[in-house]
C-alpha cells in the first residue's frame, strides 16, 4: 500500500483528503466523526468576527441538479459562514486539534476588510494550535453583499492587502481561498502570491440558480416565494475547477505556489486528476454531504491502489505531472490526424453516433443495412463527438493516422513533424511575421 502521507506547507496529514470549509466542518461533533472516518484534515467552517453571529435563512438553503436515478450532480447553497459564536468554535478547534495532533486543522476566516478586525481575530486563532488559516475570499452570496467573501476575492488589490495583513499578524501558513466568480483566475492568484500567501485553494462555489419552480416562478431553493443566487458545487463544477487550478499551476507568475484543489472531488480518481494538475492536496465538501464521511475510505484505498499500480510511493511522485501538458490552443500539433473507429464487436447498434454526426457534425458515419455503423474516413474530422455520445465505453476510439499515410478527407500525407497554428499559412499573424 502506497503511503498517502501528505506534506502541504509543512503541515502533515495522513492522506491528501481534507474536508473543505463547510457544514461538515462546522462543529466539533462533525469533525471528530470525520477524523474517526479517516479524513486527513479539515478546514473549519468559516469563522466571522467577534460579536453576534450571522443568521441563516430558516427555510431550504440547498438546491440540486440531478443526473440519472437522482444522482446528485450539482448542489447549490445560500448558507452563510458559521452561525455559531466565535468563542464556541475556537474552544472546539483547540480541543479537536489537541486530540488529533496528526490531522490537519485549518481555520477558515472571513472578517471585514479592516486591518483592526484581522489583528483582533488572528491571535485568538493562533491560540487554538490550529495548523494554519484559510482566507475565505470566495463565498458568493450573503457575505459578499456585506463587502466580504467574493466581494474581496473579486478585487485583486484587496486580496493582496488582506493577505499581507495576515502574514504580518500570524506566523503559520496562510492559504487564500479563491472565488471562481471572476473572468481570469490568474489575477487573484497572483495577488495572493504577491501578498505573501503560502498557498491558494480553489474553487469556492459558483454563483448559480439551479432551478425555477414553474408553479410559483420562484428560484429554488425558495424562501417564501423568493430565491437568491447560491453557490454551486459538486461533480458538475469539477471541470471548471480543474481548469482554474491548471491555469494557476502553469502561470509563470505563480508557478510553484502550492495549491489546494477543491471542486467536485468525489472519488480517488478526481483527486488524482486535481493533483496531477498541480494541487498538493484536495478538499471535499459535496461528496461528504451526499454520502457521509465514510466515502473517504474509497478515496484513500483507491488512490493508494492506483499509486501502487503506477509504482508511485509518495503523492509527490505525481503532483503536477499533467501541468506541462496543459498548453494554449495555438501550440497544439496540427499535424496530428486521427479518425474515429467503431468496434463492430462491441457496437450495440443504438445509432447515437449516427444521429450525432449526421445531424450535428460532419456526416461521417454511414448507417448500413442491418444497422451497421461505419465511419467514412473521407469526412471524419475526428471531433470525438461520437465517442462522447456512445453508451459503450471504448466501442468507438480515436485512432491516430500513421505518418506517411494519406488522410482521405484532405488528401494530404500525414506528417511526422510537429506544426502548430503559430506557423500555419492560414494564420494572418503567422504570415505577417514572415
Amino acid at each position: 500500500m502506497a503511503d498517502l502521507t501528505t506534506d502541504f506547507l509543512g503541515i502533515s496529514s495522513p492522506n491528501p483528503f481534507w474536508l473543505a470549509s463547510a457544514p461538515p466542518t462546522d462543529k466539533e461533533y462533525n469533525v471528530r466523526r470525520a477524523f474517526e472516518a479517516g479524513w486527513g484534515g479539515v478546514v473549519w467552517k468559516t469563522l466571522g468576527a467577534e460579536g453576534p453571529p450571522v443568521v441563516n435563512v430558516n427555510g431550504p438553503r440547498y438546491g440540486a441538479l440531478y443526473g440519472a436515478d437522482r444522482r446528485l450532480l450539482g448542489l447549490n447553497n445560500i448558507e452563510l459562514i458559521t452561525d455559531r459564536p466565535l468563542e464556541v468554535n475556537l474552544e472546539e478547534i483547540a480541543r479537536v486539534k489537541s486530540d488529533y495532533p496528526d490531522r490537519a486543522v485549518i481555520v477558515s476566516l472571513m472578517v471585514p476588510c479592516e486591518e483592526a478586525e484581522w489583528k483582533a481575530i488572528l491571535p485568538r486563532v493562533a491560540e487554538t494550535g490550529a495548523d494554519g488559516i484559510e482566507l475565505n475570499f470566495g463565498c458568493p452570496h450573503g457575505m459578499s453583499e456585506r463587502g466580504m467573501g467574493a466581494a474581496v476575492g473579486q478585487v485583486p488589490e484587496y486580496i493582496e492587502m488582506v493577505t499581507r495583513w495576515c502574514k504580518e499578524n500570524y506566523d503559520r501558513p496562510v492559504i487564500v481561498k479563491l472565488t471562481p466568480n471572476i473572468t481570469d483566475i490568474r489575477y487573484p492568484a497572483r495577488a495572493a502570491h504577491n501578498g505573501g500567501a503560502d498557498a491558494v485553494s480553489l474553487i469556492n462555489t459558483i454563483s448559480s440558480i439551479t432551478s425555477v419552480n414553474l408553479d410559483n416562478f420562484s428560484p429554488e431553493p425558495s424562501i417564501d416565494g423568493k430565491g437568491s443566487h447560491g453557490g454551486y458545487c459538486g461533480p458538475a463544477v469539477k471541470p471548471i475547477a480543474m481548469n482554474m487550478v491548471a491555469e494557476i499551476a502553469r502561470d509563470p507568475e505563480t508557478r510553484g505556489l502550492p495549491i489546494s484543489g477543491i471542486g467536485g472531488v468525489t472519488t480517488w480518481r478526481d483527486a488524482a486528476e486535481f493533483m496531477s494538475l498541480g494541487a498538493g492536496n484536495v478538499q471535499v465538501c459535496t461528496a461528504a454531504m451526499t454520502y457521509g464521511f465514510r466515502i473517504v475510505q474509497e478515496m484513500t484505498a483507491g488512490l493508494s491502489q492506483w499509486m501502487d499500480e503506477k509504482g508511485y510511493t509518495s503523492v509527490q511522485d505525481f503532483v503536477g505531472r499533467a501541468v506541462p501538458n496543459v498548453t494554449d490552443w495555438q501550440y497544439l500539433n496540427l499535424n496530428y490526424v486521427a479518425k474515429a473507429k467503431i468496434d463492430q464487436e462491441q457496437c450495440i447498434k443504438c445509432g447515437r453516433c449516427y444521429a450525432a454526426c449526421e445531424d450535428t457534425s460532419h456526416q461521417a458515419i454511414w448507417m448500413k443495412e442491418g444497422r451497421v455503423f461505419e465511419v467514412n474516413d473521407a469526412e471524419c474530422v475526428a471531433c470525438n463527438l461520437c465517442v462522447d455520445v456512445c453508451p459503450v465505453e471504448n466501442c468507438i476510439s480515436m485512432v491516430e493516422m500513421a505518418p506517411g499515410t494519406v488522410d482521405p478527407r484532405t488528401g494530404r500525407t500525414v506528417q511526422d513533424s510537429y506544426a502548430n497554428w503559430t506557423t500555419h499559412p492560414n494564420n494572418p499573424g503567422a504570415q505577417a511575421a514572415e
Binding site: A68, D69, R70, I348, K349, C350, G351, R352, Y354, A355, M367, R371, P391, V392
Partner: protein
C-alpha cells in the same frame, strides 16, 4: 397445503381464497414514479430505434420514454395512444420479450432491456386511471361503418373511425365487449377488471355503439350489414378450435383450453372454479401456457404441458416457458397424445414420443402414460363463421394492404385475417390501418 389440494378428479377450492388471490395478482406490477424514472433513464434514445421497428403499432418508444423521464407521463401516454389506442392492455399482454424489448440495444449490451412494457403501462395508467380520454371526434362525416367483433382489432378500428368523424356500430356475439382481452388473456396479466374499464375508457370518444348478443351468421348477414352501412370491418377472431384426433376426444375431463380460460376469466369467485389434480395440456402456444399456469395457480398438483416438437420450435416464448416452469408446470417436449383412458371420466393420457422426419412429426413407437383427470386441448384456433363469399388464404380471410378483402366495401383485420402474428398488438395495428383505409375509401 389446503385440504382440497389432494382431492382427485375435478374439484374447486384446492387452495384457500387468500392463496388464490395472491396467485392471480399482477404479473408485472405497476411502477411507482421513482421506479419509472429510473427505468426511463436507461433508455438511450436510439436513432431509428429498433424497438419502434419491432412494435407492430410503431409506437415512438424513445420519445414516450423521454416524456416519462421529463416528468410528463400524460404526454407519454398520448405518444402511445396516437399509435395504439389499446396501449394499456398491450403494455400488459404484449410478449415484449419477442417484440420491442428483444430489439432493445440494452438487451444486446447487457441482456437486460429497458422495461418498455412496464414503462408503457406507467404512462397509460396515469391517463386512464384519471379517467381522461385525450381524443375528440372530427366533425361528423355522415358515414356509418359496421364493425363485427369487439376484440382488439374491432375496438381499435372503431376508435379510429369515430375519431375521424364516422358513426360506428360494433356487432358482438358475446354478451360483453373486449374479445380475448376479456375472455382469453391470462387473468394475472389484466387484473382488476382492466379489459372492461379499457373498453369504457375507449368509448368515451363517442360515436361508437356496441350491440352485444348480435352475431354475424345468425340474424346478421354480410349483405344486410353492407346495405345498412357504408363499410364493414370484420374482426371476428378465431372462434373454432382444432381437434386432437384421438379416440374418445369428447370424454368428460377433456376440454378446449380456451373455454376453460374464458370460464376462468368470467368467474366471480376463483375458489369456486373446479380444476383437476393431474392436468395435462396439449399444445405449445400462449394458450397452452396460460391454461397450464392458471391450473397450477388454482391448485392443481401436477400440471404438464405436452408439446409435440422440441423446445426451440415452441411458439410460446422462452420467457413464457420459464414463467410456466417457475410456477411448477412441467414442460414435456417431443410427445403427442395417442390415447385417452377413463370410463366415466378421464383418468390417464398416453403420450407417444416423436421425432421430426423430413419436417414431419412422427411417432417413435415409445409411449408414456400420465395420470390425468383433466386434459386441455390447446393446439390452435381456427376461423369459424366467416361469410362464405370471402376469399381465404391459409384458412384465414385474405386481405390486401389496408385490410381490404375480396369483397368490395368489406375489410378485415386481427386474428381472423391472414398475415401477421396472432397477437393483441397486431390486431390493434390491423384495426387501425383498416380504419385509415376505410376513411380514405369513404371520404377520398
Amino acid at each position: 397445503m389446503a385440504p382440497g389440494q389432494m382431492a382427485s378428479g375435478l374439484a374447486a377450492g384446492r387452495l384457500t381464497a387468500a392463496e388464490i388471490d395472491a396467485n392471480f395478482d399482477d404479473l408485472h406490477p405497476a411502477y411507482a414514479p421513482h421506479e419509472a424514472a429510473v427505468a426511463a433513464d436507461r433508455c438511450y434514445f436510439c436513432y431509428d430505434a429498433p424497438c419502434t421497428t419491432a412494435c407492430p403499432t410503431d409506437i415512438d418508444i424513445p420519445l414516450f420514454i423521454r416524456q416519462i423521464q421529463t416528468g410528463q407521463p400524460e404526454a407519454a401516454a398520448r405518444t402511445i395512444f396516437d399509435q395504439n389506442i389499446l396501449g394499456g392492455i398491450c403494455a400488459r399482454v404484449c410478449p415484449t420479450e419477442t417484440l420491442c424489448e428483444e430489439a432493445c440495444v440494452r438487451e444486446t449490451a447487457e441482456g437486460k432491456p429497458v422495461e418498455i412494457g412496464r414503462l408503457q403501462r406507467y404512462a397509460t395508467d396515469t391517463v386512464m386511471s384519471a379517467g381522461v380520454h385525450p381524443y375528440s371526434r372530427a366533425p361528423e362525416t355522415g358515414k356509418s361503418v359496421a364493425v363485427v367483433g369487439a376484440g382488439p382489432a374491432g375496438l381499435a378500428c372503431a376508435h379510429r373511425l369515430a375519431m375521424l368523424g364516422h358513426e360506428v356500430v360494433i356487432y358482438e356475439s358475446r354478451p360483453k365487449a373486449g374479445g380475448l382481452n376479456e375472455f382469453g388473456i391470462a387473468a394475472y396479466k389484466a387484473t382488476g377488471g382492466f379489459a372492461q374499464s379499457e373498453v369504457d375508457w375507449l368509448l368515451q370518444i363517442g360515436g361508437i355503439t356496441i350491440e352485444t348478443g348480435r352475431a354475424l351468421g345468425g340474424e346478421l348477414t354480410l349483405d344486410g350489414l353492407k346495405a345498412d352501412h357504408d363499410a364493414v370491418f370484420l374482426s371476428i377472431g378465431l372462434g373454432g378450435v382444432n381437434a386432437l384426433r384421438v379416440p374418445d376426444e369428447n370424454m368428460p375431463g377433456v376440454r378446449n383450453a380456451v373455454d376453460f380460460i374464458a370460464e376462468l376469466r368470467q368467474a366471480e369467485n376463483l375458489s369456486a372454479l373446479a380444476v383437476g389434480r393431474n392436468v395435462v395440456v396439449i399444445g405449445g402456444g400462449m394458450t397452452a401456457v396460460d391454461a397450464a399456469v392458471q391450473s397450477k395457480l388454482l391448485g392443481a398438483e401436477n400440471v404438464t404441458i405436452a408439446y409435440r416438437r422440441g423446445r426451440d420450435a415452441m411458439p410460446a416464448s422462452r420467457y413464457e416457458q420459464d414463467l410456466a416452469a417457475s410456477k411448477g408446470v412441467r414442460l414435456m417436449f417431443n410427445v403427442m397424445p395417442v390415447g385417452l383412458t377413463g370410463t366415466e371420466a378421464l383418468t390417464a393420457v398416453d403420450l407417444e414420443y416423436t421425432q421430426v422426419v423430413d419436417g414431419r412429426v412422427t411417432g417413435t413407437g415409445e409411449t408414456v402414460t400420465l395420470p390425468a383427470d383433466q386434459l386441455f386441448k390447446a393446439i390452435g384456433q381456427t376461423l369459424d363463421g366467416a361469410p362464405g363469399a370471402l376469399a381465404l388464404e391459409g384458412g384465414k380471410i385474405a386481405v390486401s394492404d389496408g385490410g381490404r378483402t375480396s369483397i368490395d366495401g368489406v375489410w378485415a383485420g386481427g386474428d381472423c385475417a391472414a398475415g401477421g402474428d396472432d397477437l393483441t398488438v397486431t390486431a390493434v395495428a390491423e384495426g387501425r390501418d383498416a380504419a385509415m383505409d376505410i376513411h380514405k375509401a369513404l371520404v377520398g
